[in-house]
Symmetry: D2
Subunit: 381 residues, 4 copies
């Protein structure tokens, strides 16, 4: 195995999500961080590089510099792909440039600032033939894979009802007014786009529901609200869902759900059985049946499908967490990049979220905002 | 203490809810079952009486017979109140007659077949001055009382978000076609009214949310569905909620949620804290705070309010269940009846669901049905 | 059905366990409380009777008076059985007299003050042929019955390991010095016997383990301690267990386990599977298998055995609690008494704890005390 | 930061614990794997190196070769420390040689095959002044740190009772007879030492109890058993514990507890409060109080101590798992190594398990085996 070389855009020391990406990329021993435009200040970028044990000359003051400079390095040395971990408004420009300069890209979500950018990016991905992964990291959990496999095999019968939730409380107060950086950009439409909590966590909920069930949300009726004083963007929302196959459901998301930490969860009911999964206790999948006792599946545990156990790194009872699920996206992305590097054709069904998921997420945001502006009228996605 | 004497309408041997009412009425030793029109067949009614250890001559073939005959017995002997445990269409007639003949009434929910009946009944209750209780039994759980008290005292701050659910799976198949009696009348509009799951369990969810928060649902947008083959009445629904104070929320209810047993639950988020309660594990109230660790309150446990511990019969750690919560409605009703019997004025705020809750429940059903017919448009309750 | 008539010894108003017995006896509508020696003061006994709605002339100042007086009443009026709910030292005398005067007896645990008394009582029960039940109430939970049935049918294979615990924290401080009555008699050897927590809750743990597994503890090594300042009797203990079939295990019990409410629990491991049950969440039985996913059984839920569902009063998802489990002992006792009254022979295997369980519990206490005095040497029971 | 260079002994591709060590070492970006004697066959060692992306010339056929060869490389290139991930009998020889040749060592547990080896190793560590860490990885969980901090600060008062358990079921059948390598060496005294489950998991339980409470087990009475057919070493055990301060407790451990995955757990009761923690749900610490409601602490959540949050990598609600806890040992070890490399003195209290914990674990094994041979007589550790 040759390890892949990663360049990072954003994620200076102290950044939450940059650190997550670095740890996730490193767990499986397939990727080395070799360079970065960690900050828009070259000085700060160098400081980050030093703290990370990266040579000074591979720290850049902008993504443009980085992409240009790396493109001119010998192949054995230059980065293989770019990880984009900046706020939303800084996703499209580096992604576009990196792809066009021949680098693969892995990017945080939501994919872009606007739907137009997402559509444009989709074309660029297609035309360049580079690998593009979107870190809807929650799809990396083994028990999410187990649920998906059970539904795909028909174990639960026809899906009829889906309740998905993503509840946080960290914006219950006006945190953005205290100078907290994570909060500040998320409530700013210039950096976040037209969705607040909608884009930040609602898209995760949307992606999770569609990923597990394999069903698309056909239309939605959304009632989103900005509870926080002076906020322009939503920090809470409740949504009715109708799926393509006739299934119905609800989504509720919030960043003002006081006391909640990171409570993403989903329940899916079919004609033969149902599943329930909660991210804060991710190593349990609760399966209820029409006529058998309730079961609890665990990663690597009895009765799990290969589709799930393939993503389990350690034996049953040894809990894996958020970083491992995130790492699974990186691992699948790295496998695909290696395949392309080895001159093989792209996988027909890549096992990680792609630009298509990104476009879909943006459409979800736009539909929900439009619905909500029209007093929760139904809008097709 | 003089024990109260109860007459029952419906609830012949083998009936689910009749048996529940009898057990609930007996737990606190304040009530004796003395007579009943347990069935519309006199023969069956007598058989039930015998099985229950009640003298044959107090078994009646109809509620009319019972009310008439009992009214003529000497006061020391005749029943004090009537418990109505029949399907919905048989609530109004016996309730009306009993009240008008001077008997107090405790009645199962939803209060009547139609909204008009409910409004008519409200007038009768008011004009007769008799005590009328509605068995929204879930309000009897100590941890529900604890949540209500915490909100009333302002512990959670201003309420902003409410998610309530009531999930069952027992109608996931066409049980009504097998001759199962419980299922048969519930899917029949002539016996159930215009709401299916909506009336049967949706009203419990509505009542619980309003009871705990003290806030009224101002308007709703409902998407209800009859998934079961050939069903006329809904067996599933998803609802957006807006409360009078600006709080928003969701309700989801279902009787086709495969594998769910009786999963009533509620989460309420305020500016300072939030609570979560689930009926299947009723002796825990999870309280999350803005800046303190999550707490678990238990009946009779540390830190509970008197408003809750008053309803706890046994020390902390000794679980109470559904029957005890149901018994609490009976106990509070019995106290009120005793107070009236002792010549005192009615309580200004009776501690049990009343005809007002009944009317409110019917309005909820009607609003949800109307909304759903209009593609989930907003309807004021 | 003719309802049975109960007389009570002890259990005056305000008593914890007397009230539990009364509620438990009433739930299933098979028993009426008709008389009582509720207190050793006639005045207080009458006050209790009045509060309970019992005629004054059926309130007695002593159990001797009660038994004598009731024995002379006409059969249709006199009590059928005596419920003994006094502290331990007052179990034997009323039990002996009641049995010898022709009354059936249901008695709280541990059965007597001393082992000698227990052995004497066993002879009396045998010679009088009366029904004697001991309220090891935890055996009444449906999920305990389910576990017992699974083991009896061999579902778990050969049992190899048993861990049982009973943890309370209510004596973590010197509560007995505050005048709290429940605490006061429990720490007094004259009223409790030679075991403190050992007798009060250790016997429940011992009984539960033997009841579910059908295996006897052959020998034990106990390390019991009186942590509370000035206490003579143990308030905590840890015990190694060896069962007759070669299974091994531990018991830990405590009344100084700070913060614990009533945490009785048991885990039993066989060669094919294992079960875990906890009294504070009694409506779940966790079953783990060698090669299948973990299952959760619930009362009345999918896959439960008739041996369990027979003891479930309400549909799955409607939690039953401590009082219902206690009521199950009363119900089984009442059925047996009715059978004897109907002139039939006693059941060969009565479905409630008997004097044999009582003797066994006393032997357990004596063995544990002896072991502990000898630095936890092994003692055969 | 300069990244440390790790050499590995054992842990060829396919090995469970080798892979764990590699992932754990990589998460925090402080360590690079540069060489290894992954297997006793040079060929296999090279194959592993290739699969891991390590240059062929840094793959060795024995630890002796590796240590010798690396010692001769220039400082900038040669490994800084050795990670020993072999079965127990292969801990002492490479540890000794590495330390004596100037390398720091991190080693899996139990520390050696015999107590004598452990004592010898302690002397070597002391005389060489090198850093030695033992991977009692469970002490790396943030909630374990929180519990330790709460006890150290006196929040729980005086500790009186400790129940610790480590339950697995993977040896419930004769897995070692199927050729499963993990099972085979663990049941072989030549490779495992005198303890079976005792050494493999009992030492974790012992270490965890002493680590959190800061109290030493003074004496124990152990009843260990080999249930598996033909097994020489124990696969199950039950132990009475007495701690230096008068606290008492139990330990139960098993590898034949059918259906258990990796159920390490501990409950600690003090005079003011108590804690409970379970490894399979590691992101919750349950804290019970004398007079306040039960609390649930979470990593990075409200109310946690800095002593815990320092070990939390991601925000509250983003679960960390086994690998992260393991990584914490590596991180603390790496910090200490860096400190020594920078010419500073060793930390007075290193924040990772050391050779002292290793010796203590061996003494525990020897005491338990001796006690058990003498029918569970008390043995001082």
């Amino acid at each position: 195995m040759t390890r892949l070389k990663m360049g990072m855009v954003g994620g200076g020391i102290g950044s939450f999500i940059g650190d997550v990406h670095r740890k996730a990329a490193s767990i499986d021993g397939m990727i080395d961080l070799v360079c970065g435009a960690f900050s828009s200040s070259e000085e700060k970028s160098i400081a980050s590089a030093e703290a990370l044990g990266i040579p000074k000359n591979r720290a850049y003051g902008s993504f443009e510099q980085m992409i240009k400079a790396e493109a001119q390095l010998p192949e054995a040395e230059r980065m293989d792909f770019v990880a984009i971990v900046t706020p939303n408004h800084m996703h499209f420009p580096p992604a576009k440039m990196a792809l066009e300069q021949g680098f693969h890209v892995i990017c945080d979500k939501p994919v872009t600032l606007t739907l137009d950018e997402a559509i444009a990016l989709e074309k660029i991905v297609r035309s360049t033939g580079k690998v593009f992964a979107l870190t809807h990291n929650y799809t990396g959990y083994p028990m999410v894979k187990q649920a998906k496999a059970m539904i795909a095999k028909g174990d639960l019968g026809t899906i009829r009802k889906i309740n998905v939730q993503y509840l946080q409380g960290w914006l219950a107060t006006s945190l953005e007014k205290t100078g907290q950086k994570q909060a500040a950009w998320r409530v700013d439409p210039k950096k976040s786009g037209i969705g607040g909590a909608l884009g930040d966590i609602g898209t995760h909920a949307e992606n999770l529901a569609e990923y597990i069930t394999g069903l698309r949300i056909e239309e939605l009726a959304a009632d989103v609200t900005a509870f926080g004083e002076g906020r322009i963007l939503d920090d809470d929302g409740n949504v009715l869902l109708r799926f393509e196959n006739g299934a119905k459901g609800t989504m509720t998301f919030s960043q003002i759900a006081t006391g909640e930490e990171n409570n993403l969860g989903i329940r899916i009911y079919g004609t033969k059985g149902s599943v329930a999964w909660y991210q804060e206790n991710p190593n349990e999948l609760v399966v209820r049946w029409l006529d058998k006792p309730k079961q609890i599946f665990t990663p690597g545990g009895n009765g799990g499908y290969p589709e799930a156990s393939e993503y389990t790194r350690i034996p049953a009872g040894h809990p894996e967490g958020y970083l491992e699920a995130f790492a699974t996206i990186y691992r699948s992305f790295a496998k695909e990049v290696n395949q392309i590097k080895a001159g093989k054709s792209p996988s027909t069904s890549a096992d990680f979220p792609t630009i298509k998921d990104g476009v879909r997420g943006m459409k979800f945001i736009y539909a929900a905002v439009e619905s909500s502006k029209n007093n929760a009228t139904w809008i097709k996605i």
